[in-house]
């Protein structure tokens, strides 16, 4: 099915082949246009029994449960779950801060440090490919100071190539207005979708809370990959440093050794608050260090979702 011959740096065919065995599933019913792998809010013709319902005139007599009529002398209709496809909407943060990559050697041997945007490309590309493979529609929105580029969700392989092109061409620049973008996306995406946000989320957590709530209100399944560079957590610079804001916010001169403790306190408080917001809004939240392989991140994401469905 994947016939794109153009090499994509963010795609690892071997890893994708390994991940192909794990389906990408939504955590809530999707409203698709065609039959697919995902649960639908409507009753359908799958083999999975859903419930009994009293017969009303007009119902298809083939669905009558004659055995139940024989036992109770009443007419009941058997209903089955409907399976449909999903819309995967990728939201890629292309703000300036996504360009950061540490100069330290990677924690995992053999894995070169990537910028957060490079890492986000891998995740978005992988998910897009896997979703497309199972017949789901894939769209993408690049967010920075606003919506930079956007493609609606489509099922065709040609559309996937366009999505990959957008990923290829995405360049980090400008400030972050992700909450505004998410609000706009919630309003413009009418049908239910799996919204996957890949960002460093360097913004006030309370701004994100309302955006996530908005998406949930629109019955979208929201998943977030928060990408963090190891150096952004460790902050172990040894010399006085002039920090230039990648998003054009100015310069701060500081002795990292002197302020490391307070930096760590600020990061810890931020992450704690963010985790609380994710729990409150029911967002599928994944905190990712960019020095690890993206395949593991995708595998954990897919397996977690698949396990959630089996429990349903």
């Amino acid at each position: 099915m994947f016939s794109d011959r153009q090499p994509r740096s963010f795609l690892d065919p071997a890893a994708l082949a390994r991940l192909a065995g794990v389906p990408l599933v939504a955590r809530r019913p999707m409203v698709g246009s065609v039959s697919g792998r995902h649960a639908s809010p409507h009753r359908g013709s799958s083999v999975e029994f859903a419930e009994y319902r009293k017969y009303v005139p007009g119902d298809d007599l083939r669905r009558l449960d004659w055995r139940a009529f024989g036992r109770s002398d009443r007419f009941y209709v058997k209903e089955y779950e409907a399976d449909t496809n999903l819309r995967l909407m990728l939201v890629l943060d292309t703000s300036g801060s996504m360009a950061y990559h540490s100069i330290k050697p990677a924690a995992v041997p053999g894995v070169q440090p990537l910028s957060k945007l490079d890492y986000a490309r891998r995740i978005c590309g992988g998910l897009g490919y896997l979703a497309s493979q199972q017949g789901d529609a894939v769209g993408i929105t690049c967010a920075a100071g606003g919506i930079v580029r956007s493609l609606p969700a489509r099922r065709s392989p040609a559309h996937l190539r366009l999505v990959f092109d957008v990923l290829d061409e995405a360049a980090p620049a400008g400030p972050t207005r992700l909450p505004d973008v998410l609000h706009e996306l919630a309003e413009t995406t009418r049908q239910r979708a799996l919204v996957v946000i890949v960002s460093d989320l360097f913004m006030p957590p309370e701004d994100l809370a309302s955006a996530f709530g908005h998406l949930q209100f629109r019955r979208h399944d929201v998943a977030v990959f928060q990408l963090l560079d190891p150096q952004e957590l460790a902050f172990d610079f040894q010399r006085p440093t002039r920090f230039l804001d990648l998003e054009g916010g100015g310069t701060i001169f500081a002795d990292p050794i002197e302020i490391a403790d307070r930096y760590h306190q600020a990061v810890a408080a931020y992450l704690e608050q963010l985790r609380g917001i994710m729990l409150e809004t029911g967002v599928d939240y994944h905190r990712v260090a960019t020095d690890g392989p993206a395949e593991q991140v995708l595998a954990r994401f897919l397996v977690g979702r698949a396990a959630g469905r089996s429990l349903r």
Partner: protein, 679 residues
């Protein structure tokens, strides 16, 4: 603070090294493009006052540590908190010890006197300083080069009964430094600050201060002061003694004075036993001391019926804070004949002078006045005479030689003006012109505390105010007025050198004054001059230790043999050590001077003012302490440096290790890197 290696202090700018390194580090910053600015902003906002304080404390402690090392290597010396004069090891140290009796006072709780404590402390201090040369200035003679430790037992530094003329010693030190010392000199003075030892009112101090300031060598002064008064101390002395006859027997009549040397508030009345010892016979008399001073007047001690009255004795009181003033030696003898030579141009005046000189004050005295014509002066009985009353032109030529020799051996001369003054001068004085006073003038002021017009022993003043002076002769030259008329016109005066030259600017005749008419003042003045002149003629003589008379007499032809007195004193110092000595056919008693019992302790400010403009430090000596007033304290600086380093290390520890928040630890370099954050 002083340093034995002061050149090391040149490295003190290295104290700024931590600051410089900090600034260099600040300059060597790196530039990083950063995404998580929101955390940096929060971290900077969290930068509390304590953090800044900690930062600067660390910097300060590092600087202190560097300073501690430098100062310790400089080998600092502690000289007490007040001694802030700087300087290093001196090339020459000169020691001036106050060996006067007051320095033998001791605190009731300690065994050592001020002098002994001072000697030990100076010895220790100088041993620490280790100057190239250490000199001790004795009371007489050249400076002695000594090892610092010798100062403790140095005979020349033993206590004496004489005051210590600090100014004279400093002059000696100045002369020595100017002639010999090539390098830095340090003069160490140990004294209790008594006014009689320092004599700050004499005019020589300013000149000496200037002289020291102009020396090319650096001279530092270190005063080890023991100003604390001797608590509960009493001093005894015999102020007058005379032999009188009672039938065939002789009696010694003494006048004893007991003085409290430290009067603070209202003194408690005490009764002390006065113990007299004469030829082994001990007599004890109780004396009640209610105020600052008590006097036992005209106490009679029997002497027996021997042919000769000459003898000596001692009076003592029980031990107290200062043993040096608890005893007093006295000698006595039959008084010598009171021979006076009268030289007068005017017969009337001559007769009056003869009359005043020939009447003895007591029947026990043999008194005679010889009228000598000016042409027969060479044949006069100069050797027997105690005084000369001279009316007429001042002596000149051969006459001046005779009178000068007479004065040099202790005789007294009272000059009266001639009727026709001439330009002759003698002893720096000369007569000018007569001045009449209409109406007659009475003396306005006169010296009642000393000299020939002083109050009587009973305390009464001579009736000078009743005199009427009608004419005086102007006196030229430098004199010390003893009595003055209104307008400052001198009536009686003496030469400032105190060599026994007195002047009376009027004549006793009724035309000029009422001196003869009133009689008392004229008679007392003449008899007192005769008394003074008798002293060198007497077979027994009382001398103040260290006085010019004592030094001169001890250095004379007759060798002194100590009859009574402290053991161990050098024979060459006899004029400075109390005791009774046989000198030729005479007896000499040497005792501390009166000023030792009465002189106050000078305030610190007054003594400090003497060294104004010089490198000077005062160190409080501790009575009873043998410890050096100078101590090496480099260990304290090393300890301070270690404390600073430890404190710096504690402050430099990452706060995350002490923080209770585990989340913060997880991000710390070297901690669990990311697992917790990513969980």
């Amino acid at each position: 603070m002083t340093f034995l290696q002061p050149w090391v202090l040149a490295a003190l700018p290295l104290v700024a090294l931590p600051l410089i390194i900090h600034l260099i580090n600040q300059r060597r910053f790196q530039t990083v493009q950063w995404g998580g600015m929101m955390f940096l902003v929060a971290a900077k906002a969290l930068s509390s006052g304590y953090s800044r304080l900690r930062h600067w404390l660390i910097m300060l402690l590092r600087m202190l540590a560097v300073a501690g090392v430098i100062l310790a290597v400089g080998r600092p010396l502690s000289r007490g908190w007040l001694a802030l004069a700087g300087g290093g090891r001196p090339d020459t140290a000169i020691v001036i010890l106050d060996t006067s009796p007051s320095m033998q006072a001791r605190d009731p709780n300690v065994a050592d006197s001020k002098l002994a404590s001072g000697r030990r402390q100076l010895a220790q201090s100088l041993a620490t300083l280790a100057p190239a040369h250490c000199l001790f200035l004795p009371a007489t003679g050249r400076p002695l080069e000594i090892e610092p430790e010798e100062l403790i037992d140095l005979p020349a530094a033993a206590p004496t009964a004489a005051p210590t003329a600090i100014a004279d010693r400093l002059q000696t030190a100045y002369d020595f430094i100017r002639e010999n010392a090539a390098g830095t000199a340090e003069i160490w003075i140990c004294s209790d600050g008594r006014a009689n030892d320092w004599a700050i009112d004499t005019g020589g101090w300013a000149g000496m201060r200037d002289a020291f300031a102009k020396l090319p060598q650096q001279v530092r002064f270190q005063l080890v002061a023991f100003p604390a008064p001797a608590v509960g101390n009493l001093a005894v002395r015999v102020t007058d003694q005379r032999v009188q006859r009672r039938g065939e027997a002789r009696e010694l009549v003494v006048r004893v004075q007991v003085t409290r040397t430290d009067v603070q508030g209202t003194p408690e009345p005490v009764t002390i036993p006065l113990k007299f010892e004469i030829d082994g016979v001990v007599t004890v008399v109780d004396l009640a001391v209610t105020g600052r001073e008590a006097v036992l007047a005209d106490h009679v001690l029997p002497l027996g019926r021997g042919a000769e009255a000459r003898g000596h004795g001692r009076i003592s009181i029980p031990a107290d804070a200062n043993p040096a003033d608890n005893e007093f030696y006295f000698v006595f003898d039959d008084p010598p004949p009171r021979v006076t030579l009268v030289v007068a141009d005017d017969d009337g005046v001559g007769r009056l002078l003869e009359l005043a000189a020939s009447i003895p004050p007591s029947k026990d005295f043999e008194s005679r006045a010889d009228r000598v014509p000016r042409g027969a002066l060479a044949t006069a009985a100069w050797d027997e005479a105690a005084a000369v009353l001279w009316q007429g032109p001042l002596p000149s030529g051969r006459e001046a030689e005779l009178v000068g020799a007479f004065l040099a051996r202790g005789g007294q001369v009272i000059f009266f003006p001639p009727e026709h003054p001439v330009a002759e001068s003698f002893a720096g004085i000369s007569w000018r012109t007569w001045v009449s006073h209409e109406p007659a003038l009475a003396p306005e002021q006169w010296r009642t505390d000393q000299d020939i017009l002083a109050n009587t022993l009973a305390g009464g003043a001579l009736p000078l105010g009743e005199l009427m002076i009608r004419r005086t002769c102007e006196l030229a030259g430098e004199v010390v007025p003893l009595a003055s008329l209104p307008g400052g016109v001198p009536l009686f005066a003496r030469t400032p050198t105190g060599t026994g030259v007195y002047c009376c600017t009027t004549l006793p005749t009724s035309r000029d004054s009422s001196l003869a008419g009133e009689g008392i003042v004229f008679y007392a003045m003449v008899q007192r001059a005769i008394d003074r002149g008798l002293t060198p003629l007497a077979g027994a003589r009382q001398l103040d230790a260290g006085s010019a008379a004592a030094v001169q007499a001890q250095g004379g032809t007759a060798a002194w043999t100590r009859l009574v007195g402290p053991d161990g004193a050098l024979s060459s110092d006899a004029g400075f050590v109390s005791g009774v000595y046989a000198a030729g056919g005479r007896l000499v008693a040497v005792n501390r001077p009166l000023a030792e019992d009465t002189a106050p302790v000078l305030s610190d400010e007054r003594i400090d003012a003497l060294f104004r403009g010089l490198s000077y430090a005062r160190i409080s000596g501790e009575p009873g302490s043998g410890e050096s007033v100078v101590q090496e304290i480099w260990r304290a600086f090393l300890i301070a440096m270690l404390v600073a380093l430890v404190a710096e290390g504690i402050l430099s520890l990452p706060r995350s290790q002490s923080a209770s928040d585990g989340r913060s630890r997880s991000f710390a370099p070297g901690g669990r890197p990311l697992e917790e954050a990513l969980a």
